[in-house]
């Protein structure tokens, strides 16, 4: 019995530790007119999905995040751009058809999964998505 007790205690301690150190990364969406809005985003969620969930205007996400449209286009802040895994060919191709012309730090927000490393990520929204 003692053995089981100590295992349970250990589990509880681990859960507590996880809770204390666990902090949701923040993403800042800056509207085309320059208004920033900060949102808590669970790790693993895409920047697109978090925008929809939090009512960020300016992300349309027409195809639902499968790299067929460019309506979740964002300009990633330079400080964070190199932290992102590079765009795959499919995403690169989609950026060719973005409604507002792509820039060096253009990405599709459906392809950016939020991680702890990206806490504070700043993305600027284009003036038009369609």
């Amino acid at each position: 019995m003692a053995c089981i007790d100590s295992r349970d205690t250990l589990r509880a301690q681990r859960r507590l530790a996880a809770k204390v150190t666990w902090k949701m990364p923040k993403v800042v969406y800056v509207s085309a007119s320059g208004q920033p809005r900060e949102v808590d985003v669970p790790v693993g969620t895409t920047v697109m999905a978090a925008a929809l969930k939090n009512g960020i205007d300016g992300i349309v996400a027409e195809c639902g995040g499968v790299c067929m449209c460019s309506t979740c286009h964002v300009f990633v802040d330079e400080k964070f751009f190199d932290k992102l895994p590079p765009a795959q060919d499919t995403e690169e191709a989609v950026l060719e058809i973005s409604a507002e012309e792509r820039q060096p730090t253009s990405r599709l927000s459906c392809q950016i999964k939020v991680t702890g490393d990206l806490d504070g990520l700043i993305v600027r929204l284009p003036g038009k998505q369609r």
Partner: protein, 419 residues
């Protein structure tokens, strides 16, 4: 009675997008969005892909969270069926007996599955897929099924076959026509997909005519072909196309063709009533004839066009159709309408699993299908949309850079416009 405004019937992609676009267009009047399903608007494509596979959950397929509708002052009525349109009084009647008036009415009523017209089609375990509730049932029933027979080798059938196979099931696809997805893609693409599925253990049978579904105890047991062959099945998944929901419009005296007939402004012959998405047949500058398309692009772009018109900025609908299908790890990207083509040329090869098929009609590019060549698809959309000349020889020549060709054409056009 509710105050007049824009009334949208149908909570699919087209209906949802009309409401959303009206608000982003600055439309201030009331918007009512009515749908038969009990759910808030959701994406349909994942229902045959990530949702049954388990990579996408309910929340992730909602088009917007529930509070979006309140926040944008959109009156969303779910679980409500519109039974009649009174065009003179400009109001619709709901099955509940309530009436709602409108100044503009948008019919985004979609389509329904074509039913398999054979004996045994009503047995337990014969499933169709269009609605979320059907997808939930399908997902649940897939858990304990071992032998899955997919009837219909089109997009939905093949996507479901890929999902079931990925979940470790034994899968057989029965297609009545001689090859897969034959209505829309060239033989070389059909062949690629036959191999793709076969290599993953899916049995593909073309020219297979289902004559009966045999059961015991009220449940499906075997699928019987007209030549007598029998295939054991715990589940039969039927994807043999759809029929447009035209009844509401027809009963209101609106013109019907292969769908609710609309003009280039997506207006029916009542100028206060629009029809968009899967239910509407429209004149398409990218096709030989009028077309009725079943796609996210068509639904969303037509919605945007109608929203602009209602908000006071009408412009003819001219968007290029595009489509996709995800099966296993392969995405097929399609741009334009290939029906009516008289010549095809290719770039890449089946062996490298990187292939684009360019469809021409009278030496004019009409469509491009791409597998693992996403730039061909995206640049192809620009070429098609702007009718930029591309010869079959150029299309077949890998040394011709499509992006440069598109750029130089666009620059020349801009120059001549500014001169």
């Amino acid at each position: 009675m509710t105050a007049a405004g824009t009334l949208i019937v149908g909570t699919g992609q087209a209906g949802f997008q009309t409401a959303a676009s009206l608000r982003s267009e600055g439309f201030q009047e009331p918007i009512t969005l009515i749908g038969e399903e009990p759910h808030i608007p959701y994406q349909r494509p994942p229902l045959s892909k990530g949702f049954p596979l388990g990579t996408q959950d309910l929340e992730s397929i909602e088009l917007r969270p529930r509070n979006f509708y309140q926040d944008h002052n959109i009156n969303l009525l779910t679980g409500e069926t519109v039974t009649a349109i009174d065009r003179t009084a400009r109001l619709i009647t709901l099955a509940s007996g309530n009436r709602v008036s409108y100044s503009k009415l948008v019919l985004a009523v979609g389509a329904r599955n074509r039913m398999l017209p054979v004996k045994g089609a009503n047995l337990d375990g014969v499933l169709y897929l269009r609605f979320l509730d059907e997808a939930l049932l399908l997902k649940e029933r897939l858990k304990n099924a071992q032998h899955i027979v997919v009837i219909g080798g089109g997009f939905v059938g093949l996507e479901l076959a890929a999902v079931a196979s990925s979940l470790g099931k034994s899968v057989t696809v029965l297609e009545a026509l001689p090859r897969l997805m034959s209505r829309v893609v060239a033989p070389i693409i059909s062949e690629f997909y036959r191999e793709l599925h076969s290599n993953r253990g899916v049995t593909i049978l073309c020219g297979a005519h289902v004559s009966e579904i045999a059961g015991s105890g009220g449940a499906v047991r075997e699928i019987v072909l007209s030549d007598g062959r029998r295939y054991p099945a715990d589940l039969a998944l039927v994807g043999i196309g759809v029929v447009p929901n035209i009844e509401l419009a027809r009963d209101a005296g609106l013109r019907i063709s292969n769908g609710i007939a609309v003009d280039e402004n997506l207006q029916t012959d009542d100028s206060d009533i629009f029809a968009i998405g899967d239910c509407a047949e429209h004149p398409c500058i990218f096709a030989v004839n009028r077309v009725r398309l079943e796609s996210v692009q068509n639904a969303a772009d037509q919605a945007q066009s109608v929203a602009a018109a209602i908000a006071g900025r009408p412009n003819p609908y001219r968007a290029l159709p595009w489509f996709w299908t995800d099966q296993f790890d392969i995405k097929l990207q399609m741009a334009g309408i290939s029906q009516g083509h008289d010549r095809i040329v290719t770039r890449g090869s089946l062996e490298t699993r990187k292939l684009s098929v360019f469809y021409f009609k009278e030496n004019r590019l009409v469509a491009i299908d791409s597998i693992n060549r996403p730039l061909d698809h995206m640049i192809g959309r620009k070429l098609l949309a702007a009718a930029i000349p591309l010869t079959p020889e150029q299309a077949a020549d890998e040394n011709v850079d499509l992006k440069k060709l598109e750029r130089s054409f666009a620059e020349r056009t801009n120059k001549s416009l500014t001169q």
